[in-house]
């Protein structure tokens, strides 16, 4: 009998153990691998560095196995373990791991998300372990995007300028000197007239082609506003005195312009529901002359679709036409200077509940630099039609060559030259408060403005009220 009772207890214990291990196993393993600080001193003899990476370019993830091997060849005492993630679940996967206290050592993020992770105190400052030689390899402007205060929380992978993209044929039909605009830019008044010329109506008086279509559905409205705000004299949420800037009259001017472009009929009245896929489809099918936001890689997407049309390939976008993609700068508002929206993405170094050793941090820095420079960076930059941001990548050979529009290349360089470094002086609490105003007030109110449910003044008043509530009368710009 005792034997039976014993077996019962044993079975119960096994069941309990298996349930517990099933729940906690993954997190514990990750934590160990992520934070096992000892290089070469552990039983396994090797320090493992984990990285969570999305499909940065078409062939990026396909090269993971080679990247791991190459890193191991360079550093025989280290193992680089890369976990792929899709763009859709990248942030969620990372955030879940961060909140469980067991993040990967390295993760890919947009530099704008840096303050979010800094506020959680999970970032590792790589400054003490990065050699001067490594630091010198990176261009100064993108490098700053991964800094907060004096800390270097990661390294940039690439820098991209958000442009708008035009259909060459339609631009020329509308009498727009796109080459001059590429080099000299344009004001809002010039832009407003140009997009009005791009509108085409059918016999019934319905618009068959718009002058300008920007994706503004849901959170993409944030991109629209932020990109235009940069060239409207509002390069950041805070000015140099750390006062909130969207309370400036410049913001009201921008909102008025946003409404005007819809009221003119140059943009669809249904703009608030147009997402990124829809506006690109509208561009390829000739339903708009200019599309936003533009990325360098879109030139290649348009070229590939042109080839499919020529080859009568059924996988070409339905009803699409051949398009020569022209990169154009965002117009300037309120007489402000042109400041391009620079998007810098890259790799951050993370720590979990267990404090990583100095040796492990050094190894993370080695892996981050390995991923963001040299031939790896050269290849994804090339695939994305970007100029590499490290000297080592610029010198490295690329695996494939792509034909490019030389005018777009020159325009890209001209715009890139005006890019400003990121602000590193904004306290994380203040940045977090601005993010909350953006999510809870700016985006919802902008959606309502685009849907013609509120006026620019009403939106401006709502944002001002929220900003004053958060930062006080003295904490906001009053002009």
């Amino acid at each position: 009998m005792k034997k039976r009772n014993g077996s019962t207890l044993l079975l119960s214990a096994i069941m309990m153990m298996s349930l517990l291990s099933a729940c906690g196993g993954n997190a514990n393993n990750t934590a160990d691998s992520a934070n096992s600080g000892s290089t070469g001193s552990s039983g396994a003899g090797k320090d493992t560095i984990t990285a969570l990476l999305p499909p940065v370019s078409a062939n990026y993830q396909a090269r993971f196995a080679d990247m791991e091997k190459e890193f191991n060849a360079l550093h025989p005492n280290l193992t680089l373990k890369i976990e792929p993630a899709s763009w859709e679940d990248m942030t969620q996967k990372l955030d879940t791991q961060v909140n469980a206290g067991s993040p990967p050592d390295i993760a890919w993020i947009g530099a704008s998300g840096l303050s979010k992770y800094a506020a959680l105190d999970v970032l590792i400052d790589l400054n003490p372990v990065l050699s001067d030689e490594v630091k010198a390899d990176y261009d100064e402007v993108p490098m700053k995007y991964f800094q907060l205060g004096d800390a270097q929380y990661g390294l940039p992978a690439y820098m991209e300028i958000h442009t708008i993209g035009g259909n060459k044929q339609f631009l020329e039909e509308a009498g727009i000197d796109w080459k001059s605009i590429q080099q000299n830019g344009w004001t809002y008044d010039e832009f407003r007239k140009a997009i009005a010329k791009g509108v085409v109506k059918n016999d019934k008086g319905e618009t068959s082609r718009y002058g300008f279509v920007f994706a503004t559905s849901g959170v993409t409205s944030k991109d629209y506003l932020a990109i235009l705000a940069k060239t409207a004299g509002l390069p950041d949420y805070f000015d140099k005195d750390l006062k909130y800037t969207y309370t400036s009259k410049k913001f009201l001017g921008l909102l008025t312009a946003i409404r005007e472009m819809i009221d003119d009929g140059s943009m669809p009245k249904e703009l608030s529901s147009i997402d990124a896929g829809k506006r690109w489809n509208m561009f390829l099918t000739g339903q708009t002359m200019i599309t936003g936001k533009g990325l360098s890689a879109f030139e290649n997407s348009a070229r590939l679709n042109n080839e499919k049309i020529k080859a009568n390939d059924g996988s070409a976008v339905a009803d699409s036409i051949e398009v020569d993609y022209i990169s154009l700068p965002v117009p300037t508002f309120n007489g402000a200077d042109y400041i391009p929206t620079s998007i810098v993405d890259g790799y951050i170094a993370l720590r979990g509940k267990k404090e990583p050793s100095e040796e492990h941090i050094k190894n993370i820095a080695l892996a981050v630099n390995f991923l963001s420079s040299g031939s790896i960076a050269a290849n994804y930059s090339n695939e994305l039609f970007l100029t590499p941001i490290t000297e080592s990548a610029r010198k490295a050979e690329v695996l494939e060559k792509f034909p490019r529009n030389e005018d777009n290349v020159a325009a890209g360089k001209a715009m890139m030259a005006k890019a400003l470094p990121a602000r590193t002086d904004i306290p994380t609490e203040q940045a977090a408060e601005a993010l909350k105003i953006e999510t809870e007030v700016i985006i919802p109110k902008l959606q309502a403005l685009l849907a013609d449910e509120i006026t620019p003044q009403e939106m401006y008043d709502a944002v001002k009220a929220a900003a004053v509530k958060s930062f006080g009368e003295d904490g906001v710009v009053a002009d």
């Binding site: 019962t8 349930l19 969620q92 909140n99 206290g101 669809p268 977090a432 999510t439 919802p444 849907a451």
Partner: protein, 300 residues
């Protein structure tokens, strides 16, 4: 001899009860780990400013913040409106479909059941993508083509406050009734035929049979569907997240979406946990009243 038998019986009993405890333990452990622990942990987190590497105790601050947050009340109101518009209609529609399917032969019934159940099997994300296509704001959208037949101009279905909530409600009305239909059908088939035969002898009409036999017998099922429907509807998140993002101007921000944003956009897990518990309390309160009011004369 008697003593020996008694001892054996006792031992067998002890042995059986041992196995009993072991099997109960499995369910108890699963419940503790996956239900009780998350709820207790959510309560603990709701009293903290949660940070992965070290949280601080803030007492009831997260609850106070939630109560004083206009958006929380707006989200609660949106969720209530959505629930009131979807749950009763969905139950009624499921009931009507079940009644219509009922007279068919078993094979035909199965075909209908499978067809109606299909959306419940399909991924919610795929369904949302299809509905996004239906609600395309330009002329190419199916919904716009449909209203165009009646001379109505293009509608900005998901982008306008006037239509965004209705669009989500319409989506709920026209999908995912499969489970309720099957439950109703099972309940309908369980009603003894003798009741109908007696009613036929008394010359009862179809509506009289519905009023005096079907509806009373289906009351427990209706209450079950109402309670689970309200619970599901109060927890709605996916469609608002995927189709409108809560916009425009928070016209479709539901409590579930607000909790998600607090947790995963702002990393304010403390406030998210507090709002989750408040939502649970609201659901519990509504369920209590549903049972209290509608469950009085139910015979199970």
């Amino acid at each position: 001899m008697n003593q020996l038998l008694t001892k054996r019986k006792k031992l067998k009993l002890e042995s059986d009860s041992g196995w009993g405890y072991a099997f109960i333990a499995v369910a108890l452990i699963a419940f503790s780990l996956f239900t009780a622990y998350p709820v207790i942990n959510a309560f603990i987190i709701s009293l903290q400013k949660y940070r992965p590497l070290g949280s601080t105790y803030v007492g009831l601050e997260n609850f106070v913040n939630s109560f004083s947050d206009e958006l929380f009340w707006k989200a609660l109101k949106n969720t209530l409106v959505y629930t009131l518009l979807t749950v009763p209609f969905n139950i009624l529609l499921s009931f009507l479909v079940a009644i219509l399917i009922m007279p068919f032969k078993k094979k035909t019934q199965t075909i209908f059941k499978a067809v109606y159940y299909l959306p419940a099997v399909a991924s919610g994300v795929s369904l949302a993508v299809v509905w996004l296509w239906i609600f395309d704001p330009l002329k190419s959208g199916i919904a716009n083509q449909a209203v165009g037949l009646f001379g109505i101009s293009n509608q900005n279905w998901l982008g306008s406050s006037a239509t965004a909530m209705f669009s989500l409600v319409l989506m709920s009305w026209l999908s995912s009734h499969g489970t309720a239909i099957i439950i109703y059908l099972a309940a309908l088939l369980s009603i003894d035929n003798s009741y109908y035969e007696a009613a036929d002898i008394d010359g009862a009409t179809f509506l009289q049979k519905l009023r005096y036999i079907v509806i009373p017998f289906l009351k427990p099922t209706t209450l079950f569907l109402l309670v689970t429907g309200v619970i599901g509807s109060f927890q709605v998140f996916q469609n608002a997240y995927l189709m409108t993002g809560g916009g425009p101007d928070h016209a479709t921000t539901m409590v579930g979406l607000l909790i998600f944003n607090n947790a995963f956009t702002y990393f304010e897990f403390g406030e998210a946990a507090a709002q989750s518990l408040l939502l649970a309390a609201v659901i519990a309160l509504i369920s209590f009243f549903q049972f209290k009011i509608l469950g009085k004369d139910i015979e199970y």
